[in-house]
Symmetry: C2
Subunit: 271 residues, 2 copies
């Protein structure tokens, strides 16, 4: 039993799709979220810059004495997880291992599609994890740099010709490779599920990295005796590095429900 | 006569379209460019964050003892020019006044279209400048948040259905308002000229903020006796806040020619 909060961070608001899952399956846990809205997006940046930003994100969350930290960002998970784990004495969870395990488990034909940001795809992290779990698996990976701006501009509704065209261009090689499983390797992508699912067809299983990561974190906390078993709903606090204006409305889109809880702006460069 | 360099900065690479114009009309001047690629894009950020970033950009450029600084970024020009001018004892030029003067001069029917980032449009800076120069002018302004990601992903070629669809959606109200002049209020937009020009038709004059700003700067330096009259080609130096990898190739797209000159990465948060 450990009543300390779970820290969660992302480049911006996409990580809230992981918060939604964490809150759904562990409603009693306190959560502290940091979204680096002053420096979003992370997906096109170099490894050096990503490591620097991620270290600051973790340092800020550690001021809350968390029992664990969840990297709810595909880009940081693929490029800085090892560094962050080495430097910290609390569990740091990324999205790669949970998603790779899920994909290795659900694929029937051993052909897995993967979409993510440029930095995520460049890292090769999913391929390494999958190859270890299921040798011989064939991964068709595609960097999708326009999906984050499209989602952040609210363009993810079926019928949006721009979103549909971009999705079909990015995914054509994945469909051609006859993948039966597709890893949505960025926490922004669950909002694109209707368009992506329609393009890939009903025979393809979509693996949501935030959802898989939330389940993984729950299991690990249980194994380590770190769950909060106090009855009642946990407290959710939100921090961002740019203005909190409009945050509540936008956050509700990613959370899939009206956002409740405090929101505060902080200076991330001070950490 | 003043042989000190001209400092130029932007959130990323878009400002290089202004560098191209500065170099074209003042080939003998030394130029120092800073692109804040570690924190690009600026267009969706709040005023507070923009002012903080812009102060650091100027502080970095001032280490080169420039005779003037050009804000080759529509977003900073519309939201932080006054602050930067107050805090600095050298001329600081933005893109708003030059573009507003050009639009006021060329419009025949007094109807001017304006496209820019969210922060630029929210500022109302172009409307204020135009209203002062030509009272009664009617401005139809549109925030175009997807144009920067499209340009940065190389999607600005005629025939690109995504770019053409997005441009036509953004510009439909401008065409409906029968504007005869359109201000391209972001230094990324000159690359969209072929698509924008085709959509608006041959009767509409496109005002390129970088080009107008370069002419304005030249005139002001001449009036103040600050031009470099030394014969020979000026030295061009480039600095960025993220990795310099791929910079040369990408920069050449914005410069419209092969990039020459040194490129170096710096830590902008140290300024």
């Amino acid at each position: 039993m450990d009543t300390r909060p779970i820290g969660v961070f992302d480049s911006g608001l996409g990580g809230l799709t992981a918060v939604r899952e964490l809150a759904r399956i562990m409603p009693e846990e306190d959560l502290v979220y940091f979204g680096d809205t002053g420096r979003v997006p992370y997906g096109g940046r170099s490894r050096d810059i990503l490591v620097r930003y991620a270290r600051q994100d973790v340092a800020f969350l550690r001021t809350f004495d968390p029992k664990a930290i969840v990297i709810a960002c595909g880009t940081v998970s693929t490029t800085a997880l090892d560094v962050l784990q080495e430097e910290n004495d609390i569990p740091i969870f990324g999205v790669v291992a949970p998603a790779a395990h899920a994909a290795a488990r659900v694929t029937r034909n051993g052909r897995v599609g993967l979409i993510g940001t440029r930095a995520s795809i460049r890292s090769g992290a999913y391929e390494r994890a999958l190859d270890h779990l299921r040798p011989g698996v064939r991964v068709t990976a595609r960097a999708c740099p326009l999906l984050v701006p499209l989602v952040e501009n609210g363009r993810f509704q079926p019928g949006d010709v721009v979103a549909e065209t971009v999705v079909s261009e990015y995914l054509a090689p994945v469909r051609a490779a006859e993948a039966d499983t597709l890893i949505l390797g960025c926490t922004h992508y669950p909002l694109m599920k209707p368009i992506v699912g329609a393009y890939m067809g009903p025979g393809v299983t979509l693996v949501d990295v935030g959802e898989q990561c939330a389940r993984w974190v729950k299991r690990q906390l249980e194994l380590d005796g770190l769950r909060n078993e106090r009855p009642g709903a946990g407290r959710h606090r939100y921090y961002v590095s740019d203005s909190t204006e409009d945050f509540t409305a936008l956050a509700s889109v990613f959370l899939g429900e009206d956002m409740t809880g405090e929101v505060e702006q902080i200076d991330i460069t001070a950490y």
